[in-house]
Point group: C2
Chain length 133, copies 2
DNA sequence: GTCGAGAACGATAACCATTATCAATAATAA
DNA sequence: TTATTATTGATAATGGTTATCGTTCTCGAC
């Protein structure tokens, strides 16, 4: 259904080639650095089209929308409040209970988003070092 | 710590008096209807202050931030993609597993947000009616 | 090939939720 | 009272995203 133009292919390649969680601006810069000059509007439209086609997946992180490869299994995210890093996890128990909750409420679930906020291991270490001195 | 000015009290009252998930604009209109003329900037500042003080709680729903009473137990949300309604649920198993996952990753969790997307019971009924004709 | 329709592009304006600015006002402390 | 500090409200600015619009590309029909 989707038309994979050169621009969209470039966007898709960039996302597929890394494990990053891209936002539109980051992507625009990376594509520009890689020699592709793609208008920012085209990037937004491309991301929307690619997501709708299931070729990438999105997470809404409050401030901005981020995109990542969809060729990996479903997972949720641990978001560090300190450095902004995003770690992935998967827990079948949680998935299962979600389906259970939805059916309890006669709710036809078609997706979910679980964000766990806090401080990541690295930042914890750093802050402990800082406090020692 | 927080200074409960007349404006902030009005905002807090409005939120405490209902089970709605308020966004700034909705709140502004409701307050205006109730006879309070509060600047939109003051509403944003008030919401931020009240949230920081723990007097209300917020959920980030992609497009905009919504606020609700904090005098009720923690819960998560079922968000209807069709009518936009928000239903609440609580599942201790999910809470537990989240703590488990966080500790597994040596991640110091200080909060989370779980949104389950789909179609609510009411919208399902309506769409079934529509298909019959 | 080329004609025409429809999709996609790029530049840029517009949009919308939120935040910053700043002068005026209210609350608080000395 | 006076000085200090915080809050307010109007409005400008910000930032991410979407809409607009004229141009370009794609591709099937002829």
């Amino acid at each position: 259904m989707i038309k994979l133009t050169a621009q969209r292919q470039a966007i898709l390649d960039m996302i597929n080639q890394s494990n990053q969680h891209w936002d539109a601006e980051l992507l625009a810069r990376a594509l520009s650095d890689a020699g592709h000059s793609i208008g920012i509007a085209t990037i937004y439209r491309g991301l929307t089209a690619l997501e709708k086609a299931g070729l990438i997946q999105a997470i809404h992180l409050g401030d901005k929308k981020r995109y990542e490869r969809s060729d990996k299994a479903h997972h949720d995210h641990l978001v560090c409040r300190s450095c902004g890093s995003i770690e992935e996890f998967f827990d079948e128990h949680i998935e299962q209970r979600q389906r259970h909750v939805a059916s309890q409420y006669r709710f036809q679930m078609d997706g979910h988003q679980l964000l766990i906020f806090g401080i990541c291991q690295q930042c914890l270490k750093l802050s402990m070092k800082g406090e020692q001195s």
